[in-house]
């Protein structure tokens, strides 16, 4: 129910925006995020944008993960190679 997906705003008309997902366009309400501008990524939940995604924070998150990976790599350099990772979709691996 609380699922929300990040979508890019391609046009705004009044309180409604057109967003794009995989080439498909749909209309969402901007009443909860009135400051939205064309080009923003918004989180969309049940037909409403509920937040504007902060691009700077998103980049920082990626940088943070990269930093964590780097630190882990440095430690692991001195040990035997790690076991094979789970696939990215991980279905059925939680057994």
């Amino acid at each position: 129910m609380c699922l929300a997906v990040p979508l890019r705003v391609v046009a705004i008309e009044g309180t409604m925006a057109e967003v794009e997902m995989g080439g498909v366009r749909r209309r969402v309400s901007l009443v909860l995020v009135p400051e939205t501008q064309v080009g923003d990524y918004v989180l969309v939940h049940t037909g409403f944008a509920i937040s504007r995604l902060d691009e700077e924070e998103a980049q920082e998150t990626l940088a943070l993960f990269e930093e964590m990976a780097q630190a882990a790599r440095e430690e692991e350099d001195e040990r035997p190679s790690p076991t094979a990772p789970d696939g990215p979709d991980g279905e059925g691996t939680s057994g």
């Binding site: 129910m1 609380c2 037909g47 409403f48």
Partner: protein, 365 residues
């Protein structure tokens, strides 16, 4: 930010390894949100961190916590002549005490599935001869969207649109679980989209009053692992705190426009939760200002016959699962009697239900 980057399996493995090294002692964390439960099982995060870091599912599935009596009331509304009940699809197959909305539809009741409350309002505009009742299900993420349609209906004077508000608040539910003391928890993975609306400030009572940490997480594997890492670190340091591990969407103050809209339309009252019983100040009813848009007031007759002490289906452990007391696999009905095709309880119906997650992703731990 690409999804692939947030699902990088090599990085996820390393982060998991780091978490396990950091955990000085075994810890028990609860993910409040059903969306997190699904991601945690789907991506194998739970199995990877066990047994040192145990992840328990919480009550964060709005469909699952809807009381049997409220489903019965929704079904009674749908059977009223001239009334169409509009609902999110997840609600259709949730069992009430005798029936479901889907069965009611098969019997001739007018039940429409909508993706958004806006669709229900549009339906009311298009079919003026019908009374359209939107089932307001959901936490703080969804409540402002439904509030927006009530305000819009009032501004336009749409005469045939009402909402049966069963919206619930997450903070009081978390308190109820902690106050019950049935499960020992060392930390909470905070719901990312609820907190997008409420802000991290809404969770500050956890360290302040209960001495446990909360890390608000996004829904990709690395987002979740990042939050688990924050919790394990806070526990190791012995410094309970709230951390924002979903800063691209979440802030301390949250979405103020949405908060103001909720305050304008709703009033806080006690609510009946499946599994938790009646929880004070945990529900959102429609306030006096928008009383004309309240289905409880407009269709009081539909609520007259509803039994508020209707028993749960025999053998169903949804209540215990929602409180984190039992694993879905510990329920005697799980997979034997209760399956997604033939669900006994709501936790097997909803796409966010813990039982459905365990069923689909093989979480038999």
């Amino acid at each position: 930010m690409t999804q692939a980057a947030l699902r990088d399996p090599v990085l996820a493995q390393r982060l998991a390894g780091e978490i396990l090294k950091m955990a000085a002692r075994p810890v028990r964390l609860m993910e409040f949100c059903g969306g997190h439960t699904h991601a945690i099982l789907r991506f194998g995060i739970r199995a990877r961190l066990e047994p040192k870091v145990r992840l328990l599912s919480g009550p964060g599935c709005p469909v699952c916590v809807t009381a049997t009596a409220d489903i019965d009331a929704a079904i009674a509304l749908a059977h009223l002549p001239g009334v169409a009940v509009a609902t999110f699809g997840d609600m259709l197959r949730v069992p009430g005490s005798r029936s479901t909305l889907m069965q009611a539809r098969a019997e001739g009741a007018d039940v429409r599935v909508v993706y958004s409350a806006l669709d229900a309002l549009d339906l009311a505009r298009r079919e003026l001869q019908r009374q359209v009742v939107m089932l307001g299900i959901g936490f703080e993420t969804t409540a402002p969207t439904v509030a927006a349609t009530i305000r819009e209906a009032a501004a336009e004077g749409v005469p045939n649109y009402t909402v049966f508000s069963l919206h619930k608040l997450t903070g009081p539910a978390m308190r109820a679980i902690l106050d019950a003391g049935e499960v020992r928890l060392d930390g909470i993975i905070g719901p990312g989209h609820v907190t997008t609306i409420t802000g991290t400030q809404a969770w500050e009572f956890l360290p302040e009053e209960y001495g446990i940490s909360c890390a608000v997480a996004g829904f990709e594997p690395l987002d979740i692992l990042r939050a688990v890492r924050s919790l394990v670190l806070a526990i190791a340091e012995g410094r309970p705190r709230v951390t924002n591990d979903y800063p691209r969407s979440v802030s301390r103050e949250g979405n103020r426009v949405a908060q103001a809209l909720m305050a304008e339309v709703f009033t806080v009252e006690s609510a009946l939760w499946r599994g938790l019983g009646r929880v004070p100040a945990s529900g959102l009813a429609i306030g006096e200002r928008y009383a004309a848009y309240d289905a409880r007031r407009r269709f009081a007759e539909a609520f007259a016959g509803v039994l508020y002490d209707a028993p749960e289906p025999p053998g169903c452990c949804c209540g215990e699962v929602l409180r984190g007391v039992l694993e879905p696999t510990e329920c005697p009905l799980f997979r034997r009697v209760c399956t997604p095709a033939h669900p006994v309880g709501p936790c097997m119906v909803s796409s966010e239900g813990a039982c459905a997650a365990h069923y689909h992703y093989g979480g038999a731990l």
